[in-house]
């Protein structure tokens, strides 16, 4: 049941003020995005059309705490097919960034490890300018599992076979233990300070 007194009439403006969310109100609810999405085979509740409708209605809390936001593949199928150029892939990204800020502020809880992963990834770029796989795994797994030990166990479980395969092919050796760094690290720091999450 929708309780009108709990709706946030400013929510659609909030989304449209985020980069990528500008075209929200162009949606005419045709469902092309949802029916063509490869994720609906796996997550039957996944419904970008509904997320848009709920956003337009101002159902801020329900939208931002919807775990389905985090199973989007960013594969751009919806964006390519949308007859109204809503740019759904970018739009969902904008909603995810708002959700992430709310979670950081302790106002909602996100039932997905995706934000932890994305942030761990970004931290490597801010520090080194390039992706450092080991650094990413060392940050992601312990945070996801809630302890360093459990994190390392989970990492071993996911990566022991894969790592050995890569090692045998000469793709992952002692060199992979250390980050590849860009020389101009000062500029990377500036980019993330100016444009990254505050």
């Amino acid at each position: 049941m929708i309780k009108t007194w709990e709706l946030d009439p400013n929510f659609k403006e909030e989304i449209m003020n985020e980069r990528g969310g500008e075209h929200l109100t162009a949606c005419f609810q045709c469902s092309t995005c949802t029916l063509g999405c490869p994720i609906i085979d796996y997550v039957p509740t996944y419904n970008p059309r509904k997320i848009i409708q709920m956003s337009l209605l101002g159902m801020r809390k329900e939208v931002l705490s919807n775990p389905d936001l985090w199973v989007c593949l960013i594969c751009q199928t919806c964006t390519a097919r949308c007859p109204q150029d809503v740019r759904i892939s970018d739009l969902l990204g904008a909603i995810r960034r708002i959700a992430d800020k709310e979670a950081e502020a302790g106002k909602i809880k996100i039932e997905s490890s995706r934000p932890i992963f994305d942030k761990a990834f970004q931290h490597q770029l801010a520090k080194y300018g390039r992706l450092y796989d080991m650094g990413l795994a060392k940050e992601y797994y312990p945070k996801r599992e809630g302890s360093f030990f459990k994190g390392m166990m989970a990492m071993m479980n996911d990566y022991k076979d894969f790592g050995m395969r890569m090692f045998k092919k000469g793709k992952m050796g002692p060199k992979a233990m250390f980050p590849e760094k860009v020389k101009d690290l000062a500029v990377m720091k500036k980019i993330f300070e100016e444009m990254g999450e505050k």
Partner: protein, 288 residues
């Protein structure tokens, strides 16, 4: 042929999981007489994990500006890097305010919108062209091939350089090299699941499995692709998928640059064909 020199953006997996893509890209361009100048001190494009578009634009402005100073168009073998480079290029070209904002971060991000960003497949087929390539091809690929395009070669339409419903640049190149395309149209542009690998591996494995299984049922000798994340999912993780889903696949997965290299007569090891995880020996026997 108008292309003689390009700025080369290798991307982060180029010295790790996708080193065979990097090796084969360099070898192929050398054989084609195109000089690649690596973008000096390049930084990561942001991949799929940096979602804030402005942050993506700033990260890529630096790489674009370095190539622009050299007066060269920029080329990458990675579909995700291509998407980020090209969408940044378009946004920065169109928006003077954005250029000023990005330049305000650091003078090294001063990009004036004077170059193009290209995917290697686009350069091969549309810039160098099939006619030019055909004059240099010396070997025939007696192979049945499943051409897998993934997401960013054709989507979103603003940056994609192929048809989002039925892309065919890779098909044309494969046919030129004597390869046979197996029925694969349902899978050509389906996402490999890679972006969910670390957070929903159950979904990611199943999506990759669909692609591998379709190629196998269609009788393909190998899958051809052009993105290191797809390569990691379909080749690097294939044994994990087999184990998790209790199936046997054993489907070789190669980069389109490796296939083009073989057709151009380049040595298999120089193309890194001993680096692909699923053994490629059977493929090599069918290149004549």
């Amino acid at each position: 042929m108008s292309v003689t020199k390009l700025a080369y953006y290798p991307g982060c997996p180029s010295d790790a999981t996708a080193m065979e893509q990097d090796m084969s890209t360099k070898a192929v361009f050398e054989k084609l007489g195109v000089e690649l100048v690596e973008v000096e001190d390049w930084n990561c494009c942001g991949a799929a994990e940096v979602e804030d578009p402005e942050l993506v634009y700033a990260l890529n402005a630096r790489n674009l500006a370095i190539a622009e100073k050299e007066g060269l168009d920029i080329v990458t073998p990675c579909s995700i890097c291509y998407y980020n480079l090209e969408r940044s290029n378009q946004a920065l070209k169109a928006d003077e305010g954005l250029r000023a904002k990005v330049k305000g971060i650091d003078s090294s991000l001063d990009y004036n919108g004077k170059i193009k960003a290209k995917h290697v497949l686009d350069v091969f087929v549309n810039d160098i062209g099939l006619e030019e390539l055909s004059s240099k091809i010396s070997k025939k690929l007696n192979l049945k091939i499943a051409p897998y395009y993934g997401c960013y070669i054709s989507r979103p339409p603003e940056t994609g350089f192929d048809d989002p419903d039925d892309p065919d640049t890779m098909d044309k190149l494969i046919e030129l090299m004597g390869g046979e395309i197996v029925p694969f149209s349902q899978m050509k542009t389906l996402c490999c699941g890679g972006p969910l690998m670390m957070t929903r591996s159950d979904i990611a494995f199943d999506m990759a499995m669909k692609i591998l299984d379709t190629a196998k049922s269609a009788g393909a000798d190998c899958i051809a692709l052009a993105c290191p994340l797809c390569g990691m999912m379909l080749d690097g993780k294939q044994a994990d998928i087999e184990k998790a889903l209790h199936v046997e696949i054993d489907m070789p997965v190669v980069y389109i640059t490796q296939l083009l290299g073989l057709a151009l007569g380049i040595d298999a090891n120089e193309l890194g064909l001993n680096k692909n995880v699923v053994d490629t020996k059977d493929i090599l026997g069918k290149v004549v």
